[in-house]
Symmetry: C2
Subunit: 381 residues, 2 copies
């Protein structure tokens, strides 16, 4: 039986990711494909590693992109840095913190979980108190930008407070990289991982990661085997060493797109890009509050690029998502996982992080969602 080709609809992607890539990034994917062992491609990979180091703000260590998703970027770091029986302190303020706990346990970690309700940030004091109680802990893991709630973690402060500790600092930067300030090297983040499809504005499929020199040392000294796909020693021999040693066949066209996305981010300038995300998010959040909507995140930890909006009582959140999608061609996210409160997740990331996109989203939102009944009374939070 023959099937017709796919004919996907045109969407404005204002959910938790992917975001719409920059057209120049999509065009880069159409460049001629070469072999992954082509000398010109080796040069391109090495240049990409340098560019990624600039985006992560880490001149030393190793910054590369895994031929895998952000989820695998999380797993790769845990698999490489945890040995069975290791104590690992994990801050959990949403779905992705909980996933770190689950994966760390698969690799034999004894997890010390520090949890807060959805919408709050994990206080650094509580993480540091656990580190004091467990001085042998090997890793402290937090989510810099919790995609399930829109909450930012005060990562620079945590890193500063951990200076001198033997525990490594592990940070989920899936939604933060190039969207909010992040200085992996300067702050002292030992392992960070992200994805291609959010604030970097490339298609989904690759996971930029960044390792400190001491994270690399820890991996070189480990005794337990680690997954072959995530073996950073072997990945270094392929990405960085010359002549390169074959490890896997990289998705050449996806790397063209990521190279272009990272190049454009650096051309724009990270500070400018962070400011653009901040401006778009602040505008959206101001307008939503004006309309009487309540936001899930504590205001002092609200991310600009991801806004979780509480679905007002009596409103069918899923029906609103479906109508935005079907009638306006706009994707927004819902709550993630069975324990999520009823929320919409609105993303303004990468190429979409503009006041104009925010206004397009608000216009559709106004057409579909009735304002909360309390709005005229309280003016909202």
């Amino acid at each position: 039986m023959t099937r017709p080709p796919l004919s996907p609809p045109t969407r404005l992607l204002c959910g938790p990711g992917p975001s719409n890539p920059d057209p120049r990034v999509l065009a880069a994917q159409q460049r001629p494909i070469v072999g992954h062992l082509d000398p010109t491609f080796h040069d391109a990979l090495l240049e990409l590693a340098e560019l990624l180091g600039e985006v992560w703000r880490r001149p030393d260590g190793m910054s590369i992109a895994l031929s895998a998703t952000g989820t695998s970027g999380m797993e790769a770091g845990l698999a490489a840095l945890i040995e069975p029986g290791d104590e690992v302190i994990v801050g959990v303020c949403g779905f992705f913190g909980a996933r770190i706990v689950e994966i760390a346990r698969r690799y034999g970690a004894e997890v010390i979980e520090v949890s807060v309700p959805f919408g709050q940030a994990v206080p650094n004091e509580r993480l540091l108190a656990e580190l004091g109680r467990h001085p042998g802990a090997r890793l402290v893991a937090v989510v810099h930008a919790e995609t399930s709630t829109g909450v930012a973690h005060p990562l620079a402060e945590l890193a500063a407070a951990m200076a001198g500790s033997d525990a490594l600092l592990f940070a989920d930067c899936v939604t933060s990289l190039s969207g909010i300030p992040l200085e992996a090297g300067g702050w002292g983040v030992d392992y960070g991982y992200s994805c291609s499809q959010k604030c970097l504005g490339a298609p989904p499929g690759l996971s930029p990661v960044s390792l400190s020199p001491r994270a690399l040392d820890r991996i070189a000294a480990r005794r337990a085997p680690m997954p072959y796909s995530f073996d950073f020693e072997l990945l270094r021999r392929y990405w960085i060493d010359r002549p390169a040693t074959y490890h896997h066949t990289v998705p050449v066209l996806a790397y063209y797109a990521l190279h272009e996305a990272v190049r454009l981010a650096l051309e724009e300038g990270l500070e400018t890009r962070w400011a653009r995300h901040a401006e778009a998010g602040a505008h959206l959040q101001h307008e939503l509050r004006e309309r009487g909507f309540e936001l899930l995140a504590e205001p002092e930890h609200q991310l600009p690029q991801l806004t979780a909006v509480c679905v007002p009582d009596g409103v069918d959140g899923k029906a609103v998502q479906a109508e935005l999608l079907d009638r306006h061609g706009i994707e927004v996210g819902g709550g993630l996982g069975p324990s999520a409160p009823p929320i919409w997740r609105l993303g303004l990331m990468g190429y979409n992080a503009t006041v104009e996109t925010a206004d397009r989203l608000l216009e559709a939102f106004d057409a579909v969602v009735a304002r909360p009944r309390s709005a005229s009374l309280s003016g909202g939070r």
Copy 2:
């Protein structure tokens, strides 16, 4: 510092992969991006699972594509099907069989290795004899098409001889899927994995895999944890169950390309496609032998889609590769790994599996490589 965009050269990819994708497959990648949780994309994924079942010739079990490379497809199956201490019999006739051994050991397997020199196929009798000696073995693993040597494994015969055994049959089909006859369901292959970029003719980056019902049962019953990225229970809930449960953000555009590649393969018809690969490969191999070149693989196990040519004495194989690439824009592979003999690896896969491409390759080869001195004397092998 700003960098210019990448400007990769145009190449005819006649190495071990990637091959040049069909232009229709590249065009599919440019279709509008949607979210991975978009209802239309869920439908597309489910349809892709059906199409993959047809390409694998497996109507039951589960056929999906991992958001990862073929190497990870190998690792996913080993990680899911091996528990520490399991006996695993592995046939090794080249680089990729050796890699199965290495990865199986990382997951705690006691590996019984059955090796032959490069160029030969592992005799099924030796594998079956080991299975007789190790009746508790959990897995027999072979490489259906050894990309490092151009050797085919008699997989149908092995599967038939293993009928009734409790051991699962595990097959590397990275270079075989849609290039030579393969009936995963009909023969009884319990776990097969492939890649997007060889005979399927899509860009690299995804790994089509196929599991039998009893492989799925084995995974459901396992006690040891497995990597989260490769957890087939969770992948089933995302790919097959409805409503889908989020597992990871799939590379949407790469799946558009794979869907189109698989759709075109089925539209062509698998038997027609196998015959096309057979014809192109036979032509190339005949012409090479006519010119006096020796082929590495035993003739009765020679793959059509991948031909390993012995570099004649006194010829600098690497220099030939460089000249083919630089002056003719044609990529061919060299030997893989430190133990490989001096060979060129010529691939005619997917869109490139035509007599016309073979002739283009031969023409460049004739311009660059002197015929072996013995050719005029012996006429070659």
